[in-house]
Amino acid sequence: MHIPDGFLDAKTWLGAAAVSGVAVGYGLKKTGEALQDRQIPVLGVLGAFIFAAQMVNFPVGGGTSGHLLGAALATALLGPWSATLILTTVLIIQALFFADGGITALGANVLNMAVIAPMVAHCVYRLLGGVRPLSIFLGSWCSVIAAAAATALELALAGTVPLSAVLAAMVGWHLLIGIGEGLITCAFVAFVRRSGLLAATGPYDEGEGKIA
């Protein structure tokens, strides 16, 4: 889902970068207010955790595999703005050091995976009454589909690929990836809840906005 350099035209990547910049700036302010001087160590170490979690591959079928996006997972743990910051940091590191996603396309990748995906998961959690198995599964699934659809729209807007073809390919494939993401995130949240840690960190269990 990471768009590389050269796939987007200037209007698309500049527009996406502007929207992402505003969202990340607001996220910095919100998480700074909520976490205060714990902002850097908590989000930094959990950013490393999300990076590692994205290295977990799961089987999809027919010999193919997918990997976690982690947006719904981070949102369930810390809330949407923390998830935005964590995923933005991960995307920057991936683009710079691991050739995964482009530098000019960074704004678009941040918009798709670090802004849209956590916000969609957040909306699903709010609509379905918090972090419960059904909402986690649907939140994860919808976040992956939304990010894939946004990627397809940007590629089509840039004139790189016809919309019908790229939308069908991206969304079609991520319908399946989203199921895997949902299943792992459900198992993950159930495990963390048993440890008692989710009650301490979770923004949805004991009132909204405990951590941004």
Partner: protein
């Protein structure tokens, strides 16, 4: 790739000689110059110009003594995507049919324009990846963070990137050990989304990793407090203005990108010359 504990980048110990002291150029100038180059080069449409850009970066990589090993590794990381593009774009890009492939009941038509588009996109990616390799291999990590800070990126955000990168290797190592432990206990991943045990196991593995990361974040916070953190952002290198030689390097980088754009067939230079 980044090696935070290795010898400083840009002072290569490889086979090639250091003909250009690019590693001594101010990191801010390199950052702005190479990003400027990437912005210009990834808008190129003509493959000769894209190849000229790759040749320019190759020359810099060679003359700065950086070598091709890491640059080749970056290109290799992006090669699966390039391969997928070469398969996908000729199928979906409108244009003139070039090849027909029969796959079972389907007759797939590959278009010439799709291949050309895939080639251009691949060359743009190569330009960007080589430019990023040049930046990372000639700039110590701390200098890059200081450059970001002095270019106006919020201090909290720079520090967040810094801390995340430091703990990525710790956390990824932890995950690798957990995977080894799973293998030692005869865990075998299923073959489809229907394999419940696989997803349950990976959920538990990531859960354990999260709990350890959460506890680590608390220890990191306590360590930062113990070292006198007063809640403000960490100080990076003091800001000094770049020297004239540094700025000249910036002009060379952005100027090359600009010249490649101007000289594109049908570009501005050709429009002016043809009058």
């Amino acid at each position: 790739m980044v090696d935070l504990h290795g010898e400083p980048p840009g002072i290569p110990g490889g086979r090639g000689g250091v003909w250009l002291p690019f590693h001594r150029v101010d990191a801010r100038v390199k950052l702005v110059g190479l990003i400027g180059y990437i912005v210009l080069a990834t808008g190129l449409k003509a493959w000769p110009n894209l190849l000229a850009g790759i040749a320019f970066l190759g020359l810099l990589l060679t003359l700065t003594g950086t070598g091709w090993r890491r640059a080749a590794a970056r290109l290799a990381l992006a090669s699966p995507l390039a391969g997928a593009m070469l398969l996908f774009l000729p199928l979906v890009t409108p244009g003139h049919p070039w090849q027909h492939i029969e796959v079972g009941p389907w007759d797939l038509v590959l278009n010439r324009e799709g291949f050309q588009l895939a080639a251009v996109l691949g060359l743009r990616m190569a330009n960007a990846l080589l430019a990023a390799a040049l930046l990372l291999d000639t700039s110590p990590w701390g200098d890059l963070m200081a450059a970001l800070r002095s270019l106006g990126v919020p201090a909290a955000f720079v520090q967040l990137i810094d801390v995340t990168l430091r703990y990525i290797f710790v956390t990824a190592g932890e995950l690798a050990r957990m995977k080894t432990a799973l293998k030692a206990r005869c865990f075998k991943s299923g073959r489809s989304l229907l394999h419940r045990d696989t997803f349950s196991t990976w959920g538990q593995v990531t859960g354990t990793l999260f709990i350890r990361s959460w506890e680590r974040s608390e220890r990191v916070y306590q360590a930062m407090l113990a070292r006198g953190m007063a809640g403000g952002p960490a100080a990076y290198a003091p800001v000094t203005p770049p020297r004239g030689g540094d700025l000249a390097w910036g002009l060379v980088l952005v100027g090359t990108g600009l010249i490649l754009r101007l000289l594109e067939p049908g570009g501005w230079a050709w429009a002016i010359l043809s009058r």
